[in-house]
């Protein structure tokens, strides 16, 4: 009797278990079967294409709010006033204090003497600004308060201190690469427009819509020369480079399309 009872109990338990498995399978089918897979797939696709790429970059502001618009439109300067080829063919990418001081005529010696006379630590920028030192204030060229503040910041933090502004280069390249502006001086946007589709992954297509007179837009931020407040430098949190730094494959592609050499020594030192 005892063994008959046990056998029966086993059959009952087995049946219950089987029913549960079947319920699970049904439940699974109710969830769509491959649906979780698809959900996961689509979710990460969206994240990977839309959300995550942005997380790789942090915005870093330029050390000074430099307005191209004020200098170009307001003061009638042209690109070559600051960005020019030197006699030896090298390119003066960013202007140095020596050039800026031609217009921002604050005498560093006079200003520092005035700061010292006022008993202010020359490295205490806030105190210098607050003290409204005449040797500085009287020689600021800007008119609006906002622009004057930017100019004041440049003068106090850099010009009179004898420090060059550590401008952030949107196209910053590693030290082992030599990019010659002179060698690329003759690239013509209108001519390159014929390769618009081949260059689509290298150059922003909008550059070809209304070809600018100069070819800066091919590599640099489009119409940077017209902005009033410089855009943030988007710094890659892993590599440290700018989001707009051109990677090697882009250089190589353009070189290949233009029939230029792609040997290592063409660009690498």
């Amino acid at each position: 009797m005892q063994s008959e009872f046990n056998r029966c109990d086993f059959h009952i338990n087995f049946r219950v278990m089987g029913q549960k498995v079947m319920e699970e399978r049904r439940s699974s089918k109710r969830c769509g079967g491959v649906l979780p897979f698809i959900i996961g797939f689509l979710a990460t696709c969206v994240l990977g294409w839309v959300v995550i790429p942005g997380l790789f970059f942090e915005d870093v502001e330029q050390p000074v709010r430099f307005s191209h618009d004020i200098h170009v439109e307001g003061q009638g300067m042209d690109c070559e006033s600051c960005h020019y080829f030197r006699d030896d063919g090298s390119y003066a990418g960013f202007p140095a204090n020596e050039g800026c001081a031609e217009c921002h005529a604050v005498d560093p010696v006079e200003a520092m003497e005035a700061i010292a006379e006022a008993g202010i630590d020359s490295s205490d920028y806030d105190a210098i600004v607050k003290a409204e030192i005449g040797a500085i204030e009287d020689n600021l060229a800007s008119e609006s308060d906002e622009n004057k503040q930017a100019e004041r910041e440049y003068v106090v933090k850099y010009l009179i201190q004898g420090k060059e502004v550590p401008w952030l280069n949107y196209q910053y390249q590693p030290d082992n690469v030599y990019f010659s502006h002179k060698a690329h001086e003759g690239l013509d946007i209108a001519e390159l427009a014929e390769m618009k589709s081949e260059l689509s992954s290298v150059v922003d297509g909008a550059v070809f819509d209304e070809p600018a007179e100069q070819n800066c837009n091919l590599c640099h931020l489009k119409d940077i020369a017209k902005n009033d407040t410089p855009p943030a430098f988007e710094r890659n949190i892993l590599s440290g480079y700018s989001k707009t730094t051109m990677k090697m494959w882009k250089c190589e592609r353009c070189h290949a399309l233009k029939g230029q050499p792609n040997a290592c020594y063409t660009c690498h030192k």
Binding site: F37, C45, L47, W49, F56, D175, S239
Partner: protein
């Protein structure tokens, strides 16, 4: 519960597959690979305008006219200055490493009193106090042969009532002693090697370490038709490229020159000197070829052949090196030949009370220096002549640590040549009087002060700063300061007056007799600029160019002919101890048949006990085994004739 788990796993798989269809992973991998190339310890380049700025470098004895290459104001290299005739685009091995030395950890960073940092004001007060107490018992040792900084130092001495201005032993000093003291001349001797058709380098290692080596090499290179002959105890690098090497012992160089003079006089050459007859009689009697051959070992026919070449040349010149007697003999021979020896006028002074260059060369440092206060300017006498220097209080002005700064009580850091105003007037040996100006091409990064500015703060010389002194000097020279600042040299083609010059017959007859020490073999010390000089140790990039004939590992190498080695019982690689003077040196033996038998050739400039990793503890200091002997007749001291005993160890 289990349902959720299954769905989660399915979703995870989907998510994993999905992420691979986005650029995220691939971009991240790329960025990580770039991140691995940007370790914080990897130095970053500085970007900016590249310039090539002219200035002068004072690391070698003659000084070089250079161009310093900078980017964004930072110096990174040195090259020759094609605009300056002293360089012609060339540069010496020492000055080529100027930037490396400027950035050396061996630089002195602040004023130091007995090893403790003090302020410049305290240093000034202390030196003022010491000078006041010392009165006229003040001395200066300068390692600069060509700079107006010497006018400032000598002006200080004059104000103190002292004439104890010492220069480090140099060919310039011996030439000046011969020309102005013994022969009664004025100005400075020069040699037009570029336009001479026969050049006899009588002990002058002109293409390696003698005189303005860069200008000499340029002259040698451009003088395609000239015949160059080198005479000396060692077949030096100069001898290796000249037409002929004549083995002559250093102590016999004067006699050798007079042996040639014998033939020149025999050919009827004369000069309107007051003592010409006496000179002629002295040479014809005391320096016959047979006597010279007996004294020096140089065959009479060799001297006759050289005399013939000199006599047949349109513009011959004899360039001496070594003793005062050798210089005197060479100058006398040059006067007889009437060739390419020049007499350069001295430029006007900036500091009115300062000594002339010739006056600054009068004191003989080999006889010793003793003073209550000793000021040492960019010289290293405690490396070269430690036992000869006695001072109550020593102030060392230098840019790098040396044996002298280690021995000094007060060390005052000077700016490196590239960080200061300086000048370079007629280095010894140039054919025409030249003046070059050096301006700062790099900002000082250490707490330094130009020594002349410091001295101008101690005494009244009528100038507030050394820059003012240099402006006055340029005016006295008659040059255009703007042109000088652009790197060109001012050239004065005039010659000094030679009327009244004698041939020093009364002195030369005795002074030219070879005098040798008592050691087993003669010592022939030689200088290679990549090894270093008396004042400047080898520089960071130079050691890799020092050959196994000078240094193996940390061992000094001396060279000798096989017959000498056999006589001494040594062979290639033998370790020996050389004893002479007041010291000893350890060295390895190298056999080289380009050394006169009975002579050991040893390189100067090694064995530093203070300095950077490139010079400290490398080799041994050959200055220790040099013997200072008196050229009694000439009234000078000399190292020529040094001998050593050699023992195998």
């Amino acid at each position: 519960m289990s349902v959720a788990r299954r769905a989660f796993i399915q979703m995870s798989v989907g998510a994993t597959v999905g992420i691979l269809f986005t650029p995220t992973v691939w971009t991240a991998l790329d960025d990580v690979s770039i991140w691995t190339q940007n370790w914080p310890w990897i130095p970053k380049l500085t970007y900016g305008e590249a310039k090539s700025l002219p200035t002068v470098s004072k690391m070698c004895e003659s000084g070089c006219a250079v161009k310093v290459r900078t980017v964004a104001g930072q110096a990174f290299g040195t090259e020759g200055n094609t605009d300056n005739l002293l360089s012609g685009g060339g540069i010496c091995p020492l000055c080529a490493n100027g930037v490396q030395v400027m950035n050396s950890p061996s630089r002195i960073k602040a004023p130091m009193l007995n090893g403790k940092e003090i302020s410049w004001d305290d240093a000034k007060a202390l030196v003022s106090e010491k000078l006041a107490a010392a009165g006229s018992n003040v001395a200066v040792i300068s390692g600069d042969q060509t700079g107006t900084v010497n006018e400032v130092f000598s002006g200080l001495l004059v104000n103190q009532g002292s004439d104890a201005f010492y220069s480090m032993p140099s060919d310039l000093q011996k030439a000046d002693k011969a020309w102005t003291d013994l022969m009664g001349g004025s100005g400075q001797i020069g040699y037009d090697m570029e336009n001479a058709d026969v050049v006899l380098l009588a002990g002058a290692d002109a293409l390696e370490s003698w005189g303005p080596t860069v200008a000499n090499k340029k002259a040698f290179a451009s003088n395609e038709n000239g015949t160059f002959i080198f005479a000396g105890p060692v077949q030096t690098r100069t001898a290796s490229v000249t037409s002929k090497w004549v083995p002559v012992p250093a102590e016999g160089m004067a006699a050798f020159v007079l042996g040639i003079t014998y033939y020149v006089l025999q050919a009827g050459k004369s000069v309107p000197a007051a003592d010409f007859d006496q000179f002629k009689a002295m040479v014809m009697r005391g320096y016959t070829p047979a006597k010279v051959e007996a004294a020096t070992g140089v065959k009479a026919d060799v001297m006759a052949e050289i005399a013939k070449q000199l006599l047949s040349a349109d513009s011959p010149v004899v360039v001496p090196g070594g003793s005062v007697a050798a210089n005197t003999a060479a100058f006398a021979l040059n006067l007889l030949l009437g060739g390419a020896m020049k007499v350069l006028p001295e430029f006007g002074k900036a500091v009115e009370t300062a000594m002339t260059r010739s006056e600054m060369l009068k004191q003989d440092i080999l006889k010793g220096v003793s003073a209550d206060v000793l000021l040492v300017y960019e010289a290293n006498p405690f490396y070269v002549l430690p036992e000869k220097i006695k001072a109550g209080f020593t102030v060392a002005f230098d840019s790098v640590n040396t044996e002298t700064t280690a021995a000094a009580d007060l060390v005052l850091p000077t700016p490196h040549s590239y960080e200061r105003y300086d000048d370079l007037a007629s280095p010894y040996g140039v054919a025409v009087a030249t003046y070059s100006l050096g301006t700062p091409v790099s900002k000082p990064t250490l707490n330094v002060m130009n020594a002349a500015d410091f001295v101008l703060g101690l005494t009244d010389l009528g100038f507030e700063s050394f820059q003012e002194v240099l402006e006055a000097k340029v005016a006295a020279v008659g040059a255009d300061i703007d042109e000088l600042a652009e790197g060109s040299a001012y050239v004065l083609e005039e010659s000094a007056d030679v009327s009244g010059v004698t041939l020093a017959a009364n002195v030369l007859g005795k002074a030219a007799i070879p005098v040798k020490g008592n050691g087993a073999v003669a010592l022939a010390p030689y200088t290679l600029l990549n090894v270093g000089t008396a004042n400047q140790a080898t520089t960071p990039n130079a050691p890799s160019t020092i050959s196994n004939n000078q240094l193996i590992g940390d061992n000094l190498v001396v060279m000798m002919a096989s017959v000498t080695a056999k006589k001494l019982g040594v062979d290639v690689g033998s370790k020996v101890k050389l004893s002479g003077g007041n010291g000893e040196c350890e060295a390895l033996v190298q056999v080289f048949e380009g050394v006169l038998p009975g002579v050991v050739a040893a390189p100067l400039g090694m064995g530093h006990t203070v300095g950077d990793e490139f010079s400290k503890g490398k080799g041994d200091n050959v200055y220790k085994i040099l013997t200072v002997s008196s050229e009694a007749a000439a009234g000078a001291s000399t190292w020529a004739g040094s001998t050593v005993n050699v023992a195998k160890i």
